[in-house]
């Protein structure tokens, strides 16, 4: 009797957990599904009450995003290709370099003591404390004088500046989790510090690198404030281009939703590629050390 009651409780508990997970999944996936659906709706269908689940698909949003079809000659259409390329180049380069510098700096801060270490760590973190708008004009002036305004290289530099502090702190945390004995054994056995770092330590924190890269990539991909001021025509990134999607009807929601779908695809691809390392990285190594 007791056993069957326990089993019933287990069963009910399992269903409850499933139900909660289903609600949570819906809560997370719902907006993405809504975004996808809206990207195929005409303005009439978008605002129809009650909302329509079944409708004639309208591709004008995607036409506008890719600057083809009826939208080919509209200056206001997003014309995503150039800005997509800009976004990819800036985000991938900025993320890669920030993670490389952050990994090196994180390792140094984890393993070595040097004068002003805590000040340095605070300084590195403080670069993320300032709201972009506080330094925008100075960046703009500096970049204009250096010929970096409206260039991808300029945005890559901004992306590195913005993310290297975060990368340093996260990576320091991961290196702190790796026992120093790992390197000491290598050093005792005659291997160099570089060998120990690259062959022994780095593979142990690759989950952390993936997670750091994920964070940095999201920040770089969605960066808006600097891009909107520092770019004019040549180096506009996708978020900036999408924000200008307004037309005769006001805000072109179909176009904005279509651009939103296009905007999240590279992030999905990136996270799909690093998914194996991500879970361990996101838990800051806890799962990986079990």
């Amino acid at each position: 009797m007791n056993s069957s009651r326990t089993s019933a409780f287990d069963h009910a508990g399992r269903w409850l957990i499933f139900a909660l997970l289903a609600i949570y999944t819906l809560y997370n996936i719902g907006p993405v599904f809504w975004l996808l659906l809206s990207s195929f709706k005409s303005r009439l269908d978008l605002f129809a009450m009650p909302p329509k689940l079944f409708f004639t698909p309208d591709l004008s949003g995607y036409e506008s995003v890719f600057g083809v079809g009826a939208a080919a000659n509209n200056a206001s259409s997003v014309g995503v290709l150039d800005s997509l390329i800009n976004s990819i180049i800036v985000s991938v380069s900025g993320t890669s370099l920030a993670v490389i510098f952050g990994t090196l700096a994180g390792y140094v801060c984890s393993r070595f003591n040097f004068v002003g270490k805590s000040d340095f760590m605070f300084f590195v973190l403080s670069t993320r404390m300032l709201p972009p708008v506080a330094v925008l004009v100075f960046y703009h002036m500096m970049f204009a004088r250096l010929g970096l305004a409206d260039t991808r290289f300029g945005l890559i530099l901004v992306s590195i500046f913005a993310n290297v502090g975060l990368a340093t702190w996260i990576m320091k945390g991961f290196f702190d989790g790796v026992p120093r004995e790992v390197e000491q054994i290598a050093l005792v056995n005659g291997y160099s510090r570089m060998y120990a770092f690259t062959r022994l330590v780095l593979p142990m924190v690759k989950g952390g690198i993936a997670a750091t890269a994920g964070f940095c990539f999201i920040f770089a991909w969605n960066e808006f404030a600097f891009s909107s001021i520092l770019t004019t025509t040549q180096a506009k990134t996708l978020p900036v281009k999408i924000s200008a999607a307004s037309g005769a009807t006001g805000l072109e929601w179909t176009q904005i939703c279509a651009a939103g779908v296009v905007l999240i695809i590279p992030v999905l691809v990136f996270f799909y590629l690093i998914r194996k390392h991500l879970l361990m990285g996101m838990t800051f190594g806890v799962l990986g050390r079990r």
């Binding site: 206001s76 703009h140 909107s228 001021i229 004019t232 924000s243 037309g247 009807t249």
Partner: protein, 468 residues
């Protein structure tokens, strides 16, 4: 192939390459402009494609409508940069940007075609003059706009509705001439059980949403934002007449759809296009799309008119509402002024402006006065009438700060978190502080008027002057 033939081929190739490079270099003059994205920017680009000088390319640097648009121009001017050559900016921004813009008077002097009399004097002044009345211009009226009225003509013309309205209010159902009339009509059509509401207006905190609408009430009731002679704000912005106007604006939300106190232009458009409201305050700019059946479910049931006025506490009738649109200004740090002047001389020809006027509102007198333009659509005639009743924000370089402060207070009043009187008093306090910090000397008078319009360029009339 012998050596000589090879040499010939090489020389020919070099010559061809040099020619290609030369022609490519020749086609490299780009004139970049900043504007908010939309139909009008599209129209400019469409027209520019036919610019006969193919060595000049017009490049759009489009930004969203709102603060980003202003910030893009302001930040480039702040560094004295030439990332763009010309820009379309809001009329009220002329004061802020004048120091960085080419004085158009110099172009008027040098150009054989571009002269002040190409444009209506009021338009030229509205979109380019700074300081007011100085005769110095920093922009040309590239895109005019006015705050207007959109209404459901099917409801206004319905015999049953007309009869029911007359039975309830004792007068004919008609497009309102005063906000007092508009309130009755809005009340009459407010039927939440049918999903129908009487009135839609902006009330949002963003950019100029709430104040565009509230100022139209404030001015019509005889209020003023400040005294431009003495720079007094207290006693003007929070004068009894100003409070009357803004209180009326806040009260009109009773006849709007739920949540409309947060609305911007896009939500108002949606309500119009879905037939959710009988009347709405909306820019003429959007009439084209609201009358388009591909966008608006009620396109064939809509009509467009001039906004009402109001009978103020002094018994005078005033009709004043917000000016929209932009002037075309030239970045004085641009190194391409000769090419740009030539382009503008071509662009402001009637032929080009007729094309522009098919989708947006031109500032060229020759087009505005033509019967062809007046009858081009269902709202141009009303738009030309509306031009007589336009008023604007402060023409001061401190405009962005003043706007943000007033937006904060008016949207708080619209949301009901502050009384109108408190909101306007707080806004007046902030404005005087901002002006003092900027170096203005506030010359306080012995008293302040109950109806400020009576002492600042009065427009009050003894009786209602109907339009529409």
């Amino acid at each position: 192939m012998n050596l000589r033939t090879r040499m010939r081929l090489a020389v020919s190739s070099l010559a061809l390459y040099a020619g290609f490079v030369a022609s490519a270099a020749q086609a490299e003059t780009t004139l970049t402009f900043v504007w908010h994205a939309g139909t009008c920017a599209d129209a400019l680009m469409d027209i520019a494609k036919d610019y006969p000088d193919k060595s000049v390319k017009i490049v759009p640097a489009l930004v969203p409508y709102g603060p980003q648009w202003h910030d893009k121009i302001a930040s480039e001017f702040a560094i004295q940069g030439d990332a763009f050559d010309f820009a379309m900016w809001d009329s009220q921004s002329t004061a802020e940007f004048a120091a960085h813009a080419v004085k158009i008077n110099e172009i008027f002097e040098k150009s054989d075609y571009l002269k002040p009399d190409l444009f209506p004097p009021a338009s030229l002044s509205r979109y380019g003059e700074y300081p007011d009345g100085s005769g110095e211009y920093y922009g040309l009226p590239a895109n005019q706009d006015a705050y207007g009225l959109t209404y459901r003509k099917d409801l206004f013309e319905d015999p049953e509705e007309k009869e029911a309205f007359k039975a309830k209010y004792g007068r004919e159902l008609a497009v309102p001439q005063t906000y007092q009339e508009a309130r009755d009509v809005a009340e009459f059509f407010t039927r939440p059980d049918q999903g129908l509401y009487g009135w839609a207006q902006m009330g949002g905190r963003d950019y100029d949403f709430a104040t565009t609408a509230s100022n139209s009430f404030l001015w019509s009731f005889g209020g003023e934002l400040y005294n431009p002679e003495t720079f007094e704000v207290k006693g003007y912005l929070d004068s009894p007449a100003s409070i009357d106007g803004v209180q009326f604006y806040v009260d009109m939300f009773k006849y709007g759809p739920p949540g409309s106190t947060n609305w911007g232009f896009d939500e108002v458009n949606t309500a119009i296009q879905q037939g959710q409201v009988a009347m709405a305050m909306q820019w003429f700019y959007f009439n084209g799309s609201n009358a388009d059946p591909n966008v608006s479910k009620f396109a064939d049931k809509l009509a467009f008119g001039v906004l009402p006025g109001a009978i103020g506490r002094d018994g005078k009738f005033r009709r004043q509402f917000s000016v929209g649109g932009q002037g075309m200004g030239i970045n004085k740090y641009s190194k391409k002024l000769p090419e740009l002047t030539k382009f503008m001389e071509w662009y402001f020809q009637p032929e080009q402006q007729k094309r522009y006027a098919a989708v947006c509102q031109t500032g060229l007198k020759a087009v505005l006065e033509s019967p062809e333009w007046q009858n081009l659509n269902s709202y141009n005639r009303q738009f030309s009438q509306a031009l007589a009743y336009l008023n604007d924000y402060w023409h001061l370089p401190e405009y962005p700060v003043l706007l943000d402060e007033l937006q904060q207070e008016i949207s708080a009043a619209a949301a009901g978190t502050k009384s109108v009187q408190q909101a306007l008093s707080d806004a007046a306090e902030k404005h005087e502080r901002t002006l003092q910090r900027a170096g203005y000397e506030i010359k306080r008078g012995e008293s302040t008027p109950e109806v400020p319009d009576q002492v600042i360029s009065p427009v009050g009339q003894d009786e209602v002057v109907p339009v529409n």
